[in-house]
């Protein structure tokens, strides 16, 4: 492994300065479950890792009246062990509780998952269907990017040199909101998604006021599917959900690799869209 420095940043400004100093030869370090493994595998030659998990802003986990703030360094276990967060955001729990095993969940977070920008990242699609805004800090100040626009290619994101993710903000679920995530893997735990789908719905009675469906591992980035728009204004019936699942399959543009063929992945997207929409509707009804 290329010898790198370790910088423990304790403020946003310190982190920006350390990242800017080394440019593309520095990376933020959150849980380290991707970045340390990849640095060791020689994926990058790094001069510095900037530890961003000792900054107060990256550690917020706060349910407000209108907004939920999730710091970029909050580890998965904090999401599912916080009873209030878990009750309000079961769709996030669906992903936080399947990223690796218990050891990985002690360190890895949804922020690191998003910044890693893997098309198969289990944390990204749930953030997208919660209409998440990503708050990014950098040498030129702070900017906000929608979660669905964050990833730009496999392992690539909108982050420029010197920038890092501070936190993710999402609207507090209102009455009649529900979300769910499910992936397909050959093994139950500790495996990488062959395909994954997150869905959310806002119900008014039996009508879907709005919906979001996001697809993992079936394109170079997570995909915000047209299935959500298709459902808007329609009744939450089995027929409409089936039609939405078909639309989602149509939006997938997977490759064939050792984990699965493109054909299988397209099929899986349909199945997982149906299942996650059904679960989201169920949760929305419970949340009334």
């Amino acid at each position: 492994m290329h010898p790198f420095e370790y910088v423990r940043a304790t403020s946003v400004d310190e982190a920006i300065a350390a990242l800017a100093k080394h440019g593309e030869r520095a990376r933020p370090l959150a849980g380290g479950t991707d970045v340390l493994v990849m640095a060791r595998a020689g994926r990058w030659e790094l001069d510095a890792l900037v530890d961003i998990k000792h900054i107060p802003e990256t550690n917020v986990l706060e349910l407000g009246s209108s907004e939920f703030r999730l710091g970029s360094a909050v580890a998965c276990y904090r999401v599912y062990e916080d009873e209030q967060v878990a009750a309000k955001f079961p769709g996030l729990v669906d992903s936080a509780s399947i990223i690796g095993g218990v050891q990985i969940q002690s360190r890895a977070g949804l922020g690191g998952n998003l910044c890693n920008a893997s098309p198969s990242g289990d944390g990204i699609c749930p953030l997208i269907v919660h209409t998440t805004t990503c708050v990014i800090a950098g040498p030129n100040g702070t900017r906000e990017v929608a979660a669905e626009d964050f990833c730009t290619g496999p392992g690539r994101s909108v982050l420029e040199d010197g920038e890092f993710l501070i936190e993710m903000k999402m609207p507090m679920p209102q009455k009649g909101f529900g979300a769910a995530y499910e992936r397909f893997t050959p093994r139950n735990e500790m495996d990488i998604a062959v395909a994954g789908v997150a869905s959310s719905v806002q119900l008014d009675g039996d009508t879907i006021v709005s919906a979001r469906v996001a697809l993992a591992a079936v394109g170079p980035t997570p995909i915000l599917s047209s299935a959500g728009d298709f459902l808007a204004g329609k009744e939450a019936t089995a027929e409409n959900i089936s039609a939405a699942a078909q639309a989602a399959s149509g939006d997938a543009s997977p490759i064939s690799d050792m984990r699965g063929t493109a054909e299988q992945r397209i099929h899986l997207v349909g199945v997982l869209t149906r299942r996650t929409l059904e679960r989201a509707v169920e949760r929305a009804r419970e949340n009334n």
Binding site: M1, H2, P3, F4, E5, Y6, R8, L29, G31, G32, T33, L36, V37, A39, R40, A41, L49, D51, Y77, G100, G101, V102, Q103, I104, S106, R107, N188, E189, M190
Partner: protein, 156 residues
């Protein structure tokens, strides 16, 4: 040349103060700098759990943590598990149930299982299997490990 970093932490209840190169994993720090070779390396990439240690009350893969990251933290390794002259009930149960063959996975399983039983003294079999999903064993086929954890839970 990158300079070594000074780290002050608590290791198995004792204060430690040492220098470590910033890019060295906690696993290598324990084994090579601190002489605690009970923690094992299997895959060195977060998959096998052989390197599991307890960091501030949570189990982690020490190959996915930097030694420099533990400054200010408390770490527990397998060396801290038994009391002098007396095995921990989990260690005793692993022996009695023959829950190991080559033994390379054992320290990791013991640290993981201890964290589970500390938090949930009477977990179901499903819960034990789920909790231990981040620990791999190439020898035993897992059943004996799960039985040993159940036995330790009963004896407590």
């Amino acid at each position: 040349m990158v300079e070594k970093i000074r780290v002050r932490a608590t290791l198995n209840g004792e204060p430690v103060d040492f220098l470590v190169a910033p890019y060295v994993s906690l696993l290598d720090t324990l084994r090579d700098e601190l002489g605690l070779t009970g923690t094992k390396e299997g895959c060195n990439d977060g998959n096998c759990g052989a390197c599991t240690v307890n960091l501030d009350g949570r189990i982690v893969d020490s190959c996915c943590v930097l030694g420099a990251e533990i400054d200010g933290s408390a770490v527990e390794t397998i060396e801290g598990m038994a009391e002098p002259g007396k095995l921990h009930p989990l260690q005793q149960a692993f022996l009695e149930e023959a829950a190991l063959q080559c033994g390379i996975c054992t320290p990791g399983f013991l640290i993981s299982a201890k964290a589970l039983l500390d938090a949930e003294p009477h977990p179901s079999e499903d819960r034990i299997r789920f909790w231990l999903a981040g620990n791999l064993c190439r020898c035993t086929g897992y059943d004996k490990i799960v039985k040993a954890v159940q036995k330790a839970a009963e004896s407590a």
